[in-house]
Symmetry: C3
């Protein structure tokens, strides 16, 4: 390996670590907020923090056979999710005065994880299509775990554009990397595109189409519990 390649490798490694830990922290905040809303105790809040922040990455690592998963073997992931959980446990009220805070942190975590997950899958030699899908799984998996743990249908399945935003970020990261574009700008642009699409979908109420089914009647409501 030449010196330039080694440097490239090292900067990729540091970038992935930074995005992973950042995504861990903001996803953990979204998990902890759901936990506080559901009146879970302090331990339950920490478990939901960890699940929301790490389930996607753990699933990705289990699927590509990178065992034990990073979120288990590297204590910094646990530290980041516990720190976020404690912050929310004690300062939920001031944090929740921010506008739609769960959605905001959730979108940021989605962007960081989708891109980092796709890059890691590519670095492990998966082909581009599967790397993009595993990036989406990394980004969306935590929110699914968070929602399943409080026994509700995952928001990703019903709501506005969510996994599609994750797929956009992951696909841009895969394309940029395959075209040998510079790593850091590629990652930042991909993450911003995911974040922007997600926030625009929330702001403008964009939704994916729903199929017509024979049970549809006026006044019929979708099965969405209050979130």
């Amino acid at each position: 390996m030449s010196g330039a390649e080694a440097l490239q490798q090292q900067s990729l490694h540091q970038l992935l670590l930074f995005m992973d830990l950042g995504g861990t922290f903001v996803f953990a905040i979204s998990g902890a907020m759901v936990g506080v809303q559901r009146k879970l105790d302090v331990f339950g809040v920490l478990v939901l923090s960890f699940a929301a922040s790490s389930a996607g990455g753990i699933l990705r690592d289990m699927l590509i056979g990178a065992l034990p998963p990073t979120a288990i073997s590297d204590w910094r992931y646990l530290a980041a999710s516990v720190a976020a959980g404690i912050v929310i446990f004690f300062w939920y009220t001031p944090m929740s005065r921010l506008h739609r805070p769960i959605l905001l942190f959730d979108a940021a975590g989605l962007a960081l994880f989708s891109v980092a997950g796709a890059e890691k899958a590519l670095a492990h030699g998966l082909d581009p299509l599967m790397a993009a899908l595993l990036g989406m799984v990394t980004g969306a998996g935590g929110g699914v775990a968070r929602d399943l743990l409080v026994a509700r249908t995952p928001a990703i399945l019903q709501s506005d554009i969510y996994a599609v935003a994750a797929l956009l970020g992951a696909a841009l990261a895969v394309i940029g990397t395959r075209l040998d574009l510079p790593l850091v700008p590629t990652a930042i642009v991909s993450a911003l595109a995911c974040f922007a699409l997600r926030m625009a979908a929330i702001h403008y109420g964009w939704r994916l189409p729903v199929a017509l089914s024979p049970g549809d009647q006026p006044g019929d409501q979708p099965d969405d519990r209050p979130r």
Copy 2:
């Protein structure tokens, strides 16, 4: 390896692939139908298609250490589940006029996956009892994932003979293979036995016994949400 053994291996491989892709398609249809009924958007319907069609096989591959799982590394599985999801998304109403269509497709997927899952576990050197159980897991896992994703108790746990039918198909496949019976007829007969038992259980309302518990009172209802 002799020429006859190589041919045998190849025909086993092709048979497994055919049953796996067929099971993927019909299970994906059952998942997509639940998704449309629950008013999920088009992406949610596709996710439910993929979960219903691939969760069992992915779990089997994770358990036997065959990583990454076939459903992740081979794009044809994804293509089959996406195709089924799109068909149902656009033609739900005509499809749903068929009699109890979800149950029918579900039973077909159960039969194909249980047999293919048991054969794959045997081919990976597991002992016969565990191969039969992993066949059952392969067949029933998708339906469990589908139901958990829409936050309801999996039908397999409450309803009529389901996993038992999967176990029958898987066990017949294991027995036939261990007795060196011809592969294709063994697989077909095993799958038909599973399918027939499942459809008979639905048609005649066969159910496994339920335990008496002290809370039983007249008018007491089991915890089954509308399906």
Copy 3:
């Protein structure tokens, strides 16, 4: 390896096996009881027995890459969970007259699994902090799987001191092992500490604190369904 070390290894192996099978049996009882209460059929009761007894250990083995997991490859685990399920299926009423029987068996399973899980993770070379956490996952994972399968928020997240008790037992086992204290007494004391803390928490109603959130109003109830 010297003779003394070989003996030590062997006694560790036997101790882990004994604790694992014991924990499997008592956790399976707790799973079967939930299954009978939810009016599941005999197969659903057996599935819930197996899930409650083996999900934690299977998850631990999948995370540390010990594939296939012991609960899949060793038939005695399946036998222990099926035996417990059958006992409860036929004798639920006499068993349930014991005081809070699910909580009691659950606490015993928690204690046995947390200690055995931590010891196994240590034996696989994980560092002490992660070994203690994986012990907690081993102990608490079965209860989470049991609750998710009947589509309710896992008790561990809302209720009294549960995972904390598992963490106590696992941490004591890790500390004792690292200090080279004798294996069997260390394991017994660690398991008893976990069991005692759990039962005391139930008896005295100890609970971890819950965060204040702006939605709190007089008469507001936490989201706990009847258990």
